[in-house]
């Protein structure tokens, strides 16, 4: 091993520590503000440790808006989209990776090409389709299109499933399994790492989605967490302790899930980002 000079070591840690502080300070500041009495945020210089520490902002924020409903809405949409996406993407991935069929290459390229099209192009027509279906102000526009169209997911799973040895399938086929049984018994269990990666991405992406709910949802009882937070901002622009308590409430589940699943999260990105 080559010994690193002390000055280099100090510089490395200095950059990392300063960077890490910049990344975490906003969260600490949010938490600190959410525990203050409203008057205390106007002291200068600002205090990090609130005195007194109050927890009232949390029940106040919770009761000011239907947070519980928003959690249920967000959870329902994210779970539906995640499960659905895993199913449809793994089905398509299996077809592209293991079945030789007419037009396979062209259809695959076509699906990949759609990744180039910005969402904004299809926003207006898709809105009009849902408007015709009377699906505006329901959760369907947020649940159906993502499940039925995820080129990235198809690509990721095709790449992964292609790496599953053909011998496994052949053995199953000799045992009399048809394609559907092969898909459930061989492909799905062996594609778990890629499915986990796609699940994490899809769940987080759906949970944090903002533009979709902003366009489609009007009734407060249907709001998702980001939309609720956004409407909260309009109502309470001056009460920062309340706004920060609301932000904290909305971020706790994502940060919690991340801290628990971070190993898979990072693997998921590595897996899906580059092993193309």
């Amino acid at each position: 091993m080559h010994k690193r000079p002390l000055s280099a070591t100090i510089a490395i840690y200095a950059v990392l520590v300063v960077g890490a502080i910049i990344m975490t300070v906003p969260f600490l500041w949010m938490l600190s503000t959410s525990l203050k009495v409203p008057g205390e945020i106007f002291t200068f210089p600002p205090k990090w440790v609130p005195d007194p520490i109050v927890f009232e902002n949390f029940p106040r924020a919770w009761n000011a808006l239907p947070f519980d409903l928003a959690y249920i809405n967000s959870l329902k949409i994210a779970v539906f989209v995640t499960v659905g996406t895993l199913l449809t993407c793994s089905m398509a991935g299996y077809a592209f990776a293991k079945i030789s069929f007419t037009g396979s290459r062209i259809i695959f390229i076509l699906i990949l090409a759609t990744m180039m099209i910005p969402n904004q192009v299809t926003l207006v027509p898709v809105y009009m389709i849902f408007s015709e279906l009377n699906w505006i102000d329901t959760h369907w526009p947020l649940m159906i299109p993502p499940v039925l169209g995820n080129a990235f997911g198809v690509f990721l799973l095709r790449q992964f499933i292609a790496g599953i040895p053909n011998e496994l399938e052949d053995a199953a086929e000799i045992d009399g399994c048809n394609r559907l049984q092969v898909y459930f018994k061989i492909i799905l269990p062996n594609a778990k790492p890629a499915l986990a990666a796609l699940a994490i991405f899809t769940f987080m992406g759906t949970w944090n989605n903002f533009l979709g709910p902003l366009i489609y949802l009007h009734s407060e009882h249907l709001f998702t967490i980001p939309l609720l937070i956004s409407s909260f901002q309009g109502l309470y622009t001056t009460d920062w302790t309340l706004l920060m308590a609301a932000s904290t409430i909305s971020l706790i589940p994502v940060i919690g899930v991340y801290l628990m699943a971070q190993k898979y999260f990072v693997e998921g990105i590595t897996l899906s980002g580059l092993k193309g």
């Binding site: 080559h2 490395i12 990392l16 960077g19 990344m23 906003p26 500041w29 949010m30 503000t33 945020i41 106007f42 210089p45 600002p46 199913l87 449809t88 993407c89 089905m91 398509a92 299996y94 077809a95 079945i99 030789s100 069929f101 007419t102 076509l110 759609t114 180039m116 969402n119 904004q120 192009v121 299809t122 926003l123 207006v124 027509p125 898709v126 809105y127 009009m128 389709i129 299109p145 039925l148 169209g149 987080m204 949970w207 944090n208 903002f210 533009l211 937070i229 901002q233 706004l243 609301a246 932000s247 909305s250 971020l251 994502v254 940060i255 899930v257 999260f265 590595t270 980002g273 580059l274």
Partner: protein
């Protein structure tokens, strides 16, 4: 004969497994793209009858000073956001790729902003940017600098939005860079060391070329992200002050869902599509520096 039936069976199975994605592709992408292209040549305001007006929407939008303003803002956003995120992520990845203590903790801290919703963290940043009681100006006053009214200043509003986007974007791209760095063979560095190459030379002639496919991928994704930025300016400034942070997607959103001019919004969306397409093609054209032999 046997072969033929096998092929036919395979086609049927493929059709079955592909059906959900293909139906979605037709209903929610290909169909709507064609539909949007047609609408972009129509005067179609919700509630009124659609009317064919040729290229009038495009002419009207392109001669609107606001369009050039939002396009200019978007380009300015990209010019600040792309290099800052790219270089920031690369530096952190290079450092975390070294043998340092607490790598996992650092990685967690840098990644935390990535998983959080932009809507919530934009709220937090708005409070930090508060000119009178916010954290940033308080920190600046310690070193004797009087900070501006970040989000209300025509000079600082756009950079303020960029800072939030960079803060949130570094972690994700850092992981991509880390993955790229870990695939570089240690033998290459060893050989270069024996040849007497110093740290900078090793970085310049081994690391940079070996991670160039990663860099290229990140560059293209950042470009697409930059042109599609919406949540940050919507939450922090609603496009203000004086349209200084109004960007293309915000403009499309307002045209379509606040003024209900669906035809005009579609022409804007297609303009955005072509801009992204042209920039992406230019990047591919000048991608000789990307080395795929790794």
């Amino acid at each position: 004969m046997m072969l033929k039936t096998r092929k036919a069976r395979d086609n049927l199975w493929a059709g079955f497994f592909l059906a959900p994605q293909l139906i979605g592709l037709l209903l929610f992408t290909i169909g709507p793209v064609v539909f949007a292209f047609v609408i972009s040549f129509m005067e179609w305001n919700i509630g009124s009858k659609a009317e064919w007006i040729g290229t009038e929407n495009y002419q009207e939008q392109w001669s609107d000073p606001l369009f050039w303003k939002v396009l200019g803002n978007t380009v300015q956003f990209a010019i600040m956001y792309i290099p800052l995120t790219l270089i920031g992520a690369l530096i952190v990845a290079l450092l975390l790729n070294l043998k340092v203590k607490g790598r996992t903790v650092f990685r967690t801290m840098f990644f935390m902003p990535v998983v959080t919703s932009t809507v919530a963290v934009a709220l937090v940043w708005s409070w930090m940017y508060n000119p009178d009681y916010g954290l940033i100006n308080a920190a600046l006053s310690v070193i004797g600098v009087e900070g501006p009214g970040w989000l209300t200043s025509t000079t600082w509003a756009l950079p303020s939005v960029v800072i939030l986007a960079v803060w949130q974007g570094i972690g994700y791209n850092m992981i991509l860079f880390l993955a790229g760095l870990q695939s570089v063979s240690p033998q290459l560095y060893e050989a270069a060391r024996i040849d007497g190459a110093n740290t900078w030379q090793r970085f310049r002639s081994i690391t940079l070329p070996m991670i160039s496919p990663t860099t290229f991928f990140i560059l293209i994704m950042l470009l697409i992200n930059a042109f599609q930025v919406f949540n940050e300016p919507y939450m922090m400034t609603k496009g203000g002050p004086a349209n200084e942070t109004n960007v293309i997607v915000l403009h499309i959103y307002q045209t379509a869902f606040q003024f209900f001019q669906m035809g005009a919004a579609s022409s804007l969306a297609f303009t955005l599509f072509f801009i992204i397409l042209i920039f992406t093609l230019i990047q591919f054209k000048f991608s000789k520096w990307v080395n795929y032999d790794a």
